[in-house]
Point group: C2
């Protein structure tokens, strides 16, 4: 019976942190290897690999095998990529659906007793995810005003 309330899954946490790190490297034209990523964001390497595979399959990041390979974000994506894409890619599409109290059917016509309050909070979160850009987060790391580990 533990668990934090507004939360990302571990997969999502690592996914976001990894992507921000990759973005940071991409800003200066470098690829990042899995090994370095996992070290820099302090995440389990093999698990992080799975997550990055998934992000690559969804074309949010690019992966290249072989020497000097690694992960990067395509220039045309770098300035557009928002948090919600990462989250959706990892935790699935139903993020913004589903009744807060777990009812199978819950809508404005047949609401659970928390429906409207819940909607407000969820909309706020949704807005946050849609407007937060990965490259902005990455810039915070570059200029030292934010951190990806510790």
């Amino acid at each position: 019976m533990f668990q934090i309330l507004i939360m990302f899954s571990k997969a999502c946490e690592y996914g976001i942190r990894a992507t921000v790190y990759i973005a940071q490297e991409s800003l200066s034209g470098n690829r990042a290897s899995l090994k370095v990523i996992a070290k820099e964001i302090d995440s389990p390497e093999a698990f992080t690999a799975k997550i990055l595979q998934q992000l690559a399959r969804h074309n949010l990041i690019l992966s290249t095998k072989g020497p000097h390979g690694g992960f990067e974000i395509a220039p045309e994506n770098l300035y557009h990529l928002t948090l919600d894409k990462i989250v959706k890619s990892i935790d699935g599409d139903e993020i913004y659906q589903g009744c807060g109290l777990g009812l199978k059917a819950c809508d404005a016509d047949n609401p659970c007793p928390l429906h409207f309050q819940f909607l407000e909070v969820r909309n706020k979160l949704s807005l946050m995810l849609h407007t937060t850009k990965i490259y902005e987060m990455a810039e915070g790391i570059v200029d030292g005003s934010a951190f990806l580990r510790r």
Copy 2:
């Protein structure tokens, strides 16, 4: 890799729904038995029992054994009880702490790149939980404007 983003644990969902149902019965001076609660909120009986035990241990609800026993909310609690108490009792105290990106140390001085955005959403949720009263939710059930199952 599934999971909904702003969410209660299943334990919390059942706990909230059960409490609202108990409040509804308490409003008209009745106790509710586990069997009836589980049926009315459509939850697994034995699991619901565990959750109610916990709420009772924390003195959020009262339980009475034996014939005509069951669960109720003490009159002096009934109009004061808010959602956050239920959630805290079930999911623990760290609900409003913890870095959104999973960093061990993350605060205004040493923030993760999502710290301030996250805080806003969390504050909104916190406010919602602190201001939503159980008896108000129960009244919604009574007057037919909201539902605990389906």
